[in-house]
């Protein structure tokens, strides 16, 4: 349990719950109940059933033959893109909607960047018949239009966040303000391993099904549970947390986190938090974040809405600070090319977030017999407009 959360809600020096008193009753209620609820047999039964029958789990662990040949190593893709709604986000929203029901909440709020978490939240709200309000940055509403339409079709209300950089950070601020204004009947479904304790841990546990399945699947395919490397993109870090979870304390497994460098780490238009960030407080958590020397949070930039966030979850801050994880950043350009390459080589159109993780093979070599698992966090349907504009398709 060296790299997982401790009983006080910290990963090393990172985490905690830096929240205004207005949020205390809700966050405390969650903290006191989440492990108990998740341990209930009836909860697990319902959760597992929905993951299987509704989400379509287990997702395949696919050996990418042509990609492997090109980069002379053994690459497996964990196909979270095949989840219902098109990304890993739904693992968490299924878990949290069941949690919300057990806590007797009938109104659900969420923030979203790429819109994947918003869609996944709207989906489970439709499934359970609960009211759903999704906050989304005005800029993201434009660049992820298909997901906005999907949320509306699913019955959610999409509220534009018009403050600050008008992206994920600001949508999160608005969701938190909504929760302050609605303190009794509302559950906030945070979409990544960010926010005050217990959110990072709860979301990581819901996403941990990813590495649980990788273990089982590798055992069958390679006769071993542990790969040599697990690679994932990190926005807030939920798909990464899920892919690393059961390997955190297995030092033989190399953990590689890929962040968005935007136009380049030093251009001022970047979201590479580990390279550019310092310890501070964002959205209720002590973690690494991009900020001015005065402690004002800076506006990030990435072509990928889901990675366009100035912080990372506290688990990742700890993986970075302790050296357990290797952190790499990838530019818009390299990510877009890697995304296109996966289309051509494997017939899979990845989300632009995921394309960042795939770009690692351009800069980092692996031994020919190394087993490298890349978490394919989502599919690229939502990004078609961006791909079309970028490649003039």
């Amino acid at each position: 349990m060296k790299y997982n959360v401790n009983e006080k809600g910290y990963y090393g020096d990172f985490g905690g719950a830096y929240i205004p008193e207005m949020l205390y009753p809700n966050v405390e209620e969650l903290r006191q109940n989440y492990l108990k609820v998740m341990a209930e047999a009836s909860f697990q039964e319902e959760f597992q059933e929905l993951l299987k029958e509704y989400v379509g789990r287990p997702t395949p662990l696919y050996f990418a033959k042509r990609l492997s040949a090109k980069y002379n190593t053994k690459i497996y893709l964990k196909r979270e893109d095949l989840c219902h709604t098109g990304a890993h986000k739904v693992n968490n929203t299924i878990g949290q909607i069941l949690m919300a029901k057990r806590l007797d909440k009938n109104r659900i709020i969420a923030e979203t960047g790429a819109g994947q978490h918003g869609v996944a939240t709207a989906t489970v709200c439709a499934l359970m018949g609960l009211e759903c309000i999704v906050y989304m940055g005005e800029i993201d509403i434009k660049r992820q239009a298909p997901n906005v339409a999907r949320m509306k079709m699913l019955g959610a209300t999409v509220v534009p966040a018009t403050s600050g950089s008008k992206t994920l950070k600001d949508a999160t601020n608005e969701a938190i303000r909504d929760w302050i204004n609605n303190p009794t009947n509302t559950h906030y479904i945070i979409g990544s391993v960010v926010g005050p304790h217990p959110y990072p841990d709860m979301v990581a546990r819901f996403q941990s099904v990813i590495s649980q399945e990788i273990k089982n699947q590798l055992q069958k395919k390679e006769n071993r549970e542990a790969p040599d490397y697990v690679i994932a993109c990190v926005g807030g870090g939920s798909n990464a947390a899920g892919a690393y979870y059961h390997y955190l304390d297995t030092p033989e497994v190399g953990i590689i986190a890929v962040e968005a460098a935007g136009k380049g780490v030093q251009t001022g238009e970047s979201a590479a938090t580990s390279a550019l960030g310092k310890t501070g407080i964002i959205h209720g958590s002590k973690t690494l974040l991009m900020q001015t020397p005065d402690g004002q949070i800076t506006e990030p930039y990435s072509i990928s809405a889901g990675l366009d966030y100035p912080g990372v979850g506290p688990m990742h801050a700890h993986l970075y600070a302790s050296g357990r994880g290797e952190f790499i950043s990838v530019t818009d350009e390299d990510a877009m090319q890697a995304g296109l390459e996966l289309c051509k080589l494997e017939g899979i159109i990845p989300a632009i977030e995921t394309s960042h993780a795939l770009a690692i093979f351009k800069t980092r070599t692996f031994k020919p017999d190394a087993i490298v698992v890349v978490n394919l966090s989502g599919r690229g349907d939502k990004d078609l407009n961006t791909y079309i504009d970028y490649f003039k398709l």
Binding site: E21, Y24, S163, N181, I297
Partner: protein, 253 residues
Amino acid sequence: MTRIDKKLQEKKTLLSIYFTAGYPKLEDTVPILEMLESNGVDMVEIGLPFSDPLADGSTIQASSTQALKNGMSTQKLFEQLEGIREKISMPLILMGYFNPVLQYGVENFCKKCEEIGIDGVILPDLPLAEYQEHYQTIFEKYGLANIFLITPQTSEARIKELDAASKGFIYMVSSASVTGSKQGFGVEQTSYFNRIAALKLKKPQLVGFGITNKETFQTATKHAKGAIIGSAFIKMLTETGVSGISSFVKGIR
């Protein structure tokens, strides 16, 4: 006795004003303080602007954004307040979010407050547990009062804890909302005010959030020791500027 405690012992209802440092203009901070004091305001909360004020509604968000654009920072505010005790005698409280304090360095921050004559701080996102475990000894070393919030949802057990931990007074948030969003007080608020009054807490309470005029000020202070006006004051500054301060204060009591 501290300046805050002395003020709280005065036999009158206290009016405290929140404003964002460096707003509307960067150099308005000290003139605003002087005008508030000369118009009989009892105490102030000087807002340290933050890029992401989670507990604030649109008025304070906008004033914070403008103040930061004007060039306000923790460093700048301390420069402006250098020598302030030659001009101002009422208690001065800094109110802001924890990250800028953390970046300034908690110890440096507290030390600087002591040097300048800042009496207390309100840091809504530094909760009790984190404060007690990591920072209390530093705040106390420099005699800086840390004032805690309670809300209508705060349990009685926790109110007791916050009452014991809070220095000076308790900041009683009037309703479940961010700053500046509720209009007027209904039965929900008055029953909450009565409930808290009946608890006979050790620390006096100042009510904040939603105090906009004479009427809400009077309702809030029927039981509480005083009340804090923030968004309504900032709205006035936006519309009228610093010249409106005198008539604003006279309109409240």
